[in-house]
């Protein structure tokens, strides 16, 4: 992913760089976001993930964006989802590829510009991403 202006290209593929490129200095609070991942995954090739944000998803108050960061993946910024009032519900399910045990963080940007997050620690018994994956 190309860094936005003001973000050092050398740090974009670190969890801190990914976080900075999303927040751009804005504060982020824990809450409103519910990230669901298994505590233990047999292997990292396909790990079920559900993220949900408490939001009425109205014109005035909705989720604009949800980012997923996996700390130990070679490219930590796993996905960015764009939503709006036409989404009806701020809930997304997918399957992640995780390079080992790590913390996954979901960050939501709301229509008022505030950021909220939740994090989950996943123990992965067998790696993905690397050779043989």
């Amino acid at each position: 992913m190309n860094p936005p202006p003001g973000v050092d290209a050398r740090t974009i593929n670190t969890p801190e760089g990914a976080l900075q490129s999303i927040l751009n200095g804005a504060p982020v609070r824990k809450g409103r976001v519910h990230l669901n991942l298994p505590q233990v995954a047999e292997n990292g090739h396909s790990v079920g993930m559900t993220v949900r944000v408490d939001s009425p998803m109205s014109e005035a108050d909705h989720v604009r964006q949800i980012d997923l960061i996996a700390d130990k993946n070679p490219i930590p910024r796993v996905a960015t989802f764009f939503l709006g009032p036409e989404s009806g519900r701020a809930e997304i399910e997918s399957r992640l590829r995780l390079n080992g045990s790590q913390r996954v963080t979901a960050i939501a940007r709301l229509s008022d510009g505030s950021f909220w997050f939740d994090a989950a620690d996943v123990t992965v018994n067998e790696l993905a991403c690397l050779d043989g994956g």
């Binding site: 490219i75 764009f82 989404s87 997304i92 399910e93 590829r97 994956g133």
Partner: protein
């Protein structure tokens, strides 16, 4: 690319309608080597856009951190009868589309 999209056929106006899509794609990480030691180039579906009645309602930007044969489940709010259409494109610029008709009753 083979894909399967699941959307309810009918909904009431205002309902949050669940969309499920799964696309057959390796989501190659670019970190794998074949038996001859050659690196398999990175190839991922990096963008998926869902339009409902021609209006964008959902977009996903993804990388190799999304598992092979990417699966997504998300919602859209039923307004009028129309097509729910997902389009995606991968690193080799190969694109695909899957759509389903949604009938909305008032």
């Amino acid at each position: 690319m083979t894909a399967r999209i699941q959307v309810p056929q009918r909904a009431r106006r205002g309902d949050a309608v669940e969309v499920r899509i799964v696309i057959q794609h390796p989501m190659e990480t670019g970190f794998r080597y074949d038996s001859l030691g050659r690196r398999t180039p990175r190839n991922v579906i990096h963008t998926l856009v869902c339009r409902y009645g021609g209006v964008e309602v959902f977009r996903a930007e993804m990388g190799a951190g999304i598992a092979a044969n990417p699966f997504l489940r998300f919602f859209l709010r039923a307004r009028d009868s129309g097509d729910v259409e997902c389009r995606w494109v991968d690193s080799e610029n190969v694109s695909g589309v899957a759509s389903s008709r949604l009938s909305v009753a008032a």
